[in-house]
């Protein structure tokens, strides 16, 4: 099987034969209609007729279809995977879009108009002229308790979300606290229960009243859901076990930030570890700012 980047490179030679952003205009319109419906019903999963993309599910086909449908000639695209712009998946997707639409790409959060992401929301606050596109593996938050699609649909329609609360109850029984730390369930606009995709719960507060439009695409299950700008997003919890985000005892070893999501990395084969920002762009910016500050104080 050829790799994703090989396929993207192969597209290179024949890119004239592809429509801008790979998908045909008909499909893009259909997906944009689904997005508009999702915006109109915040948190509701809208089914859409996805197309086959030239890459397997699990590579982020849901997110790629959404990005392909909303990108225009003037957009600037940023792609992150686990917070980093330089992982294989992120590089391949960026490469794919620069091939099939010839648009500008960036690693700088503030310069991007569209950011496709897996696993993270950038640390830097987004603005209302940006759109965040999430790649979603499993869109249905109730799937674990109810495998039948007809039944979960009914549960959403009737707002029967007690079973999700039971899941958090069971967490406390087992661990003494709510141990769910990724894909932490939320309700959107006081109505629909939503899986925010596998972002860490650290990022949940960024969903609340976000200035940027957030759109979520699941390729395999062909579902789109959205959080429009300035929408209330509430993380489920108990009064006596309130929602809280991950915390670290130490700051980022590279930039010294105390308020970012940190990854633990091995730095030698003696098992030495350090904690660094998972958002590489943000970390570099903090480091540059410190250098600048030192420079200023010297001069």
């Amino acid at each position: 099987m050829t790799s994703f980047s090989q396929q993207a490179t192969a597209l290179d030679d024949s890119s004239q034969q592809y429509n801008f952003a790979y998908l045909d205009e008909q499909t893009k319109r259909m997906i944009r209609r689904a997005i508009l419906k999702g915006v109109a019903i915040p948190g509701y999963q809208v089914p859409f007729g996805g197309r086959e993309m030239p890459m397997p599910y699990g590579w982020g086909t849901g997110g790629i279809m959404l990005s392909a449908s909303i990108l225009g000639q003037d957009d600037v695209l940023k792609v992150i995977d686990q917070g980093a712009d330089d992982t294989t998946n992120a590089v391949s997707i960026r490469h794919f879009f620069s091939k099939v639409c010839d648009i500008a790409t960036t690693e700088k959060t503030e310069q991007a108009s569209v950011i496709q992401t897996r696993h993270r929301i950038p640390e830097q606050a987004l603005s209302n002229n940006q759109i965040l596109v999430f790649q979603v593996p499993i869109p249905e938050p109730l799937r674990f308790i109810e495998p039948r699609e007809t039944e979960t649909k009914k549960m959403h329609a009737l707002e029967e979300y007690g079973s999700m609360q039971v899941k958090l109850y069971e967490d406390i029984v087992k661990y003494g606290y709510i141990a769910t730390s990724y894909a932490y369930p939320v309700t959107v606009h006081g109505r629909y229960l939503m899986d925010p995709s596998p972002i860490p719960k650290f990022d949940n507060p960024k969903l609340h009243q976000s200035e940027a439009l957030m759109i979520f695409g699941a390729g395999r299950e062909k579902r789109i859901y959205c959080i429009p700008p300035y929408t209330d997003v509430h993380s489920l919890d108990f009064d006596d076990h309130p929602f809280s985000i991950q915390q670290w005892d130490e700051p980022c070893s590279l930039c010294g930030s105390h308020d970012t999501f940190l990854d633990e990395v091995l730095i030698d084969d003696q098992g030495q570890r350090m904690f660094i920002c998972s958002d590489t762009d943000y970390c570099q910016k903090q480091q540059a700012a410190q250098l600048g500050a030192e420079h200023d104080s010297v001069s």
């Binding site: 979300y161 007690g162 079973s163 039971v166 069971e170 029984v173």
Partner: protein
Amino acid sequence: MTQLAKQLEEPRANAANQAEPALLQAQNLSMLYAPGKGFEDVNLSLYPGEVLAIVGESGSGKTTLLKTLSGRLAPQTGSISFQSDSNTAELYKISEAERRSLIRQHFGIVHQHPLDGLRPRVSAGGNIGERLMENGWRNYAEIRLQALTWLKAVEIDQSRIDDMPLTFSGGMQQRLQIARNLVTHPRLVFMDEPTGGLDVSVQARLLDLIRNLVTELQLAVVIVTHDLAVARLLAHRIMVMKQGQVVESGLTDRVLDDPSHPYTQLLVSSVLQQ
């Protein structure tokens, strides 16, 4: 148990208080899958605190009727009204959302097979607490306290609160299912052969427990059983079904001691012969 009643809710009026309006009223109710399969032209009234047993041999339509009475199977004809507080709801005229919410708040439904009414991979405490959470409870400590209280009420060791129902015996599972249903203080509980697949000694203990709970909590109950002894022990009134028809109904003692329909006579005598 007397303690429990005080702790859990205000005592209501005496059992089967017919001075109050009927809790549940069914008129000309029919639901037939095929001729003789289901039930036909059923009329009944159930008063607060009253226990009604539906008896009849296997296939006579008891489960189908119970499903319809409890809001889970729309009848082909007829209507059911439920009186809650000062409101009357027509069970199959209101929307599905309203009906499911009414069921959640006011009905208990005890299935014959306990695992049909339990979440097998959720702890006993979580099973009891689910209804509370569905009704908006958001305090972990309070939910847990209720779970402990109800485990005790159904005679399950409180130390089992975090264990999975799959590790429980059949009798314990059934008692857990009852606790899960009673925790929100429903006014009306539907039970389908609750002592069904259990050993005789386990059955006796469960029946005793059900009888005590029903008296203490002043529950109205519709219980389906093919066992006349169960009906005799628990029910104020009995309805006898044969091939989807109600052939006889009345006060338990009257029906069992002086059955008027030949089919009831047959049922009673076959019990006596055992």
